[in-house]
Symmetry: C2
């Protein structure tokens, strides 16, 4: 199928370029490449020989023509590896780059691929296709770069695969400062955006179009037919910050974020799929800010995000907003969409914070509800009824509802005129995709202003005849096959290679343990068969490893007598450690676990289960710019340590934090002197939605006596906190916790004995970030 | 010439509408009109019979087609007079209104003519042509209306004459709230905008397109080929507050204001004429705020405005500005324009107020200088050299100057690269229009990005060949004949009828004086031949009158003994009084001059020369919402009055004030107890540029003792104050004046004896208006 498409493309090119038998130059090193580029003329093809190209900074400046582009391609697509400190910059006209693979390195500049050399040499009408950038990260998450930076006009990025960006900066950004970069009609199409892990703070969008300063300018960028898989970097998967952009027929698959019209106006969001998961409260849909957006023919399934991550969020604006804050929603059209099994699919007035007008300046008060907004011809289907299919955060009087239909399984809710209750069923067209079994009976679509321009449905079927409400206008629709990954990204790249089965390594001595950790393959399990292991220097964890006692009832003891301030387990980028059924004992002056002090270019994870940890200066020390998606301690005893879990080094108050999730379940803390749990996020940033702390079923005894701030579990600025079913005994602190009432902080069913109290403060004073 | 054009138009219509012999209905009253409208079909023509139509509210709702519009026309153009409380609202498609004359009345609604009935019935593809609205003002200047209000799309207002609007509200406004009103492509063309007097405060634009709330939306309105004559309403003649508007080939003739891109972006200002006058510091050119405007092929002559009223003002913006404040200038192109004999033609960084950051909030600090802005291929010609052709209010580093030329008669100035000194001469093409005598020698135009789209010059001549810098690309140009008023407005209307010669009336008695004032014609002169006139009730002045002693060496005495609180001369709307060589004496409890207390629907003027005024409670009392363009006292004695000149009733602090100009020249104030001169403007509004006070060559003696604020000449908030060459003797006040250093307030050469002092305060605390 894909071969046929490529063949067709090839034939088109042949037809378009009668003289495409021009010069072809094979180059095998940077010097030859540079020379070939210097000599390139319209029609020249430069072929890079297969192999590893290290520290090559390609400056592809040339001038092709529409019929005779200048091409730079891999000898075999995917077999030319750009590595080390390599990057690619294009300048000129009608350039094509094909088949490169960036990995094992990072850009030496501000971007991996960019469509300009400098302000005088911008690329236009140029294309990068069939390429991969994978885990090509700067050495530390706070060092910013982009993987693809657009300038100029009429450039295209297609059939590429990008995954694993973990440092600061959007994966792809379009810049429109300067008249030569507006009305650019760039195309970002048919790409596979693979997993991007959460960053813990802002500036981790997958695509950003413009910025707030240029949000009055027309960008006219098209983002279409892409697959966004687990793009979890931050709350915005796509951040549209300019005018007249179009988002069509993309699939957002289990991506923790939303397509957001953050700044700028008059965007078209048509025919996209948003696929969620029952257990994720972080997967969102579309969030709207500003004027004149049209949201049509989209399909939303199994989304459980709330507020900023709602299936559809219409935000409140700020009165006379600054251009970098929240422009009121006006003149928006939401028509012919379908929501299936989404929780509270329509959330309106999101961000309303009029109740905080005493603690925030007027320029931060989102008081302006959506107005002149039309919601028409939409379908909501819930297989289980929903008590709040419309979530009102403020007045919804500015919205005109027309000819919408809901099947809510007869569960009552506060309804509106223009959303009609109706009994109808849905059929599964393919995995995740459900369409009405028949035309919603007798239901006539509302004909709004310029609705005749909504000419096709989700599946590309014409709406000219028998126009049905909802995303699909077809009583016998053809499955779109959205999960066929061969539709996206390069032909040659397999994003999901089969993983080898994990191997088990049984180690009998300290030396064997050290060797196994150094040599085991990713995913392997190390079984400790002896009672005692003595370790003298840090064990470096940079892969996925499980370490556990061979006999889980007979816990092995690891004694760490390394230097003061060094950790037994040094968590490196990509280190994913699970410890089970172990005892770990320190010198009192060294650490059990710590990240690197710097160069944490990727995240690490740590899970400790059914173990005992004692006699350390720190149980866990997370250094600045380190990040973990999950730190979990479960059924574990933490005893006689000077510090407990310290994840509070992000002290710039710019919304950053050290771990997305911190779970403490069924643990016992005893004689942990200070920083028992210290988890911090600073800066007022309403769109940061982490971190997440769960402390459950645990006991804290005789701890916290050395705590300077007098709080046992310190969660300042953390958005989601759940402290429940714990016991606190004889902890010499003023407070067990100080919770943030305005956010999702809660406590329940805790027993406090001689341990201070838990209090809730509605509004925390925070430094304004804007 | 014009007849030929009309004939041609007629022939076109005949050609386009093969069935234009459809129904024609003659109607002679409101009922018949309404019925005819109800019955109208495509092609119907409704003809209103000549005569006066009083209190008729025309609701013209009908549906024509492109080829067969529905027409409503005057039997004879200009002879159907809409009067009293009449207005016209259109709704539907393809409507034409032709030949109506609105006068002697005011709209009963929010506008005189509007292109919509209500939100559900908007006009599209409709046209109002060949009409006049004159002096059709609401009863008081604070009552707002519009004369023409656009909504919908593709409407046209052409060949009309509008003049004399003096109440609050733009003359013409385009509203773009709601998707049905954006991308409207309205045309405002070939109109004559006659004189609009200054209003004294904001909201008196001649044309406003959109507003700050909708300034992110595309309006695409065309304003072309209009004549703006003395449109002096406020600092903005045209206030563009939306995107993609075009201003082409208009003539701005001695209009005190500017074409301003106040909000919104990407406007085109091409081929316009800005004609000033040597003696006016108020006639401006183009003022730019925001992004992406193109200013090309414009011609500027004899402009002497400064700062906000500069020939070209590039403003500073506010960092992250609120949408109703000042967006930074970026991506602007100013190319192929010509400035002839303009004072400081390029004023850059206008509005910079970084030095006020201690007195204003950050959201009011205009610190962001213009960036990414190109000025290329412009000509400056000064017949007398200018010391500051480029006025820098802040850094100009963000501007790229290319291939500009100046002839500054060898006067030195701080120059920039990209503005070349050159010796060349100019020829007069027609009155006010000068073009280079030959191509500026050997000078090649800079070819900027998309400059190929500047395809024609000021005169419509192609730029394809021998492309010259400056507005004109033609070595032998044809005069554009811009002052031929028959090119603008309706054929049938004469905006400048010959005025009758003034008549002189000699009056010998009080009765004759009263009768003469009541009956004299506009412009007449009344000569007082007796020594004494006794007047018992106010003399109503509602025309232009001059009253003077027949023998100017022998001043007649008018004694006014009317009721307490009433004025001898009651200034009515349109009252223009000049008193010469008179003595005017009151009872001590009544007033010499006062406006009406309400219903000052138009302004008044007052000039008192060579006279004596004594024994009044007030010399002049200006009531709230009254306005005068000029109050002048010259060579006049003001004595023994409780209050002097009080123009301080606009106390809402919204930028309003009671007189544009207050002149006190060579006068003597003696024993004026309080409010000696009290002139007030409240509210922080950086774009209000009045009022104007001149106090010169006068003497103030023994005055101000009762002044509560302790200031003899109170000028709080007045922008331009000149106090010079006066003598102050024995005035029991703390201050003679408190001047505003940040504005154009100055004093010089005054003699102060036992009279307090004059101090200057740099920044006055003022209420923020926004």
């Amino acid at each position: 199928m894909k071969y046929l498409a490529l063949l067709a493309l090839f034939l088109v090119i042949v037809n378009c370029s009668p003289e495409n038998t021009d010069t072809s130059v094979l180059v095998s090193n940077a010097h030859e490449l540079s020379e070939a580029i210097s000599n390139a003329e319209a029609g020249t093809e430069i072929v890079m020989t297969n192999g590893s190209w290290r520290d090559v900074q390609i400056r592809f400046v040339a001038h092709g023509t529409k019929d005779r582009p200048v091409t730079l391609r891999a000898e075999t697509p995917g077999e030319v590896i750009l590595t080390g400190h390599s990057d690619l910059k294009l300048g000129g006209d009608y350039l094509v780059v094909n088949g490169l693979y960036f990995k094992n390195g990072s850009s030496p500049s501000q971007s991996v691929i960019q469509f300009f050399i400098n302000e005088d040499t911008v690329a236009n009408h140029s294309r990068v296709t069939n390429c991969v950038i994978k885990d090509y990260n700067k050495s530390q998450k706070n060092i910013q770069d982009l993987w693809v930076l657009f300038k100029g006009r009429h450039n295209q990025f297609d059939h590429c695969y990008l995954a694993g960006k973990s440092n600061r900066g959007p994966t792809v950004r379009v810049d429109i400062e300067g008249n030569q970069n507006i009305k650019n009609y760039h195309k970002i199409i048919n790409n596979h955006f693979g997993p991007r892990p959460p960053k813990g703070g802002p500036s981790a969008e997958t695509i950003q179009l413009g910025n707030s300063s240029t949000s009055m300018s027309p960008s006219n960028t098209l983002v279409a037919n892409n697959f966004f898989e687990k793009c979890n970097g931050e709350v915005e998967i796509i951040s549209s910050k300019s005018n007249f952009n179009e988002f069509r027929n993309n699939v957002f698959y289990k991506s923790e974020g939303s397509l957001v019209t953050r700044h700028g106006n008059y965007c078209t969001i048509d025919g996209n799929y948003f696929i969620g998961a029952e257990d994720s409260p972080n997967i969102g849909g579309i969030r709207l800010i500003g004027t004149g957006h049209w949201v049509t023919n989209n399909y939303f399934y199994n989304l459980h995000g709330e507020v900023f991550r709602a299936p559809l969020a219409l935000m409140n604006g700020i009165r006379r907003s600054a251009i970098n804050r929240y422009i009121q929603v006006t003149d928006v059209v939401v028509a012919y969409n379908t929501w299936v099994d989404c929780k509270s699919p329509w959330q309106i007035g999101v961000g309303s914070n009029v109740d905080q007008k005493d603690v925030l300046p007027p320029s931060e008060i989102r008081s302006e509800t959506p107005i002149r907004t039309l919601m028409a011809n939409n379908i909501i289907f819930n297989s289980k009824g929903d008590q709040t299919p419309i979530m009102r955060y403020d007045s919804i009087d500015g919205i005109d509802f027309r000819s919408n239909v809901i099947n809510n399984q007869e569960v009552e809710f506060e309804d509106v005129e223009g959303l009609k209750l109706m009994d109808f069923s849905m059929d599964e067209l393919e995995e995740n995709i459900w369409t009405p079994s028949s035309n919603v009976p007798g239901f006539k679509a509302y004909q709004g202003f310029e609705f005749d321009q909504i000419s096709k449905d989700l599946l590309g079927h014409s709406r000219a005849h028998e126009n049905m409400i909802g995303a699909v206008n077809d009583t016998d629709p053809v499955p779109p096959n959205i999960m066929d990954l061969s539709l996206y990204g390069p032909e040659w790249f397999n994003p999901n290679p089969e993983e080898a089965d994990p191997k088990a390594h049984i180690v009998d001595s300290s030396e064997e343990l050290v060797a196994a950790i150094a040599n085991a393959d990713d995913g392997d399990i190390i079984l400790l068969a002896s009672d005692l292991y003595e370790i003298h220097s840090p064990l470096k964890i940079n892969r996925t490893l499980t370490i556990q006692s061979a006999d889980r009832r007979q816990k092995s003891l690891i004694v760490y007598d390394g230097d003061n301030g060094t950790p037994a387990f040094e968590m490196n980028p990509k280190g994913q450690l699970e410890l089970k059924a172990l005892r770990l004992q320190g010198s009192g002056k060294n650490y059990a676990f710590a990240s690197l002090k710097e160069n944490m270019g990727s995240l690490y994870n740590l899970k400790v289960v059914d173990s005992e940890i004692s006699d350390f200066e720190y149980v866990l020390k997370a250094y600045k710019h380190s990040f973990s998606e999950l730190i979990e301690f479960k059924s574990t005893l933490l005893r006689s340590c000077k510090n407990g879990l310290e994840l509070s080094s992000e002290d710039d108050d710019r919304g950053e934090y050290n771990a997305e999730n911190l779970h403490v379940i069924d643990c016992l803390f005893e004689k942990v002197n200070q920083n028992v749990i210290d988890y911090y996020r600073g800066g007022y940033d309403e769109s940061t939605v982490g971190g997440n702390l769960i402390v459950k079923g645990s006991t804290f005894k005789n701890s916290g006596a050395g705590e300077k701030n007098g709080i046992l579990i310190h969660t300042y600025g953390i958005i989601n906190v759940d402290i429940s079913n714990n016991t606190f005994q004889n902890n010499r602190v003023k407070l067990v916790a100080l919770l943030w009432g305005a956010k999702n902080n809660s406590e329940s069913n805790n027993t406090l004995e001689n341990s201070g109290q838990i209090i809730i403060e509605q509004n925390l004073p925070l430094k304004l970030m804007y």
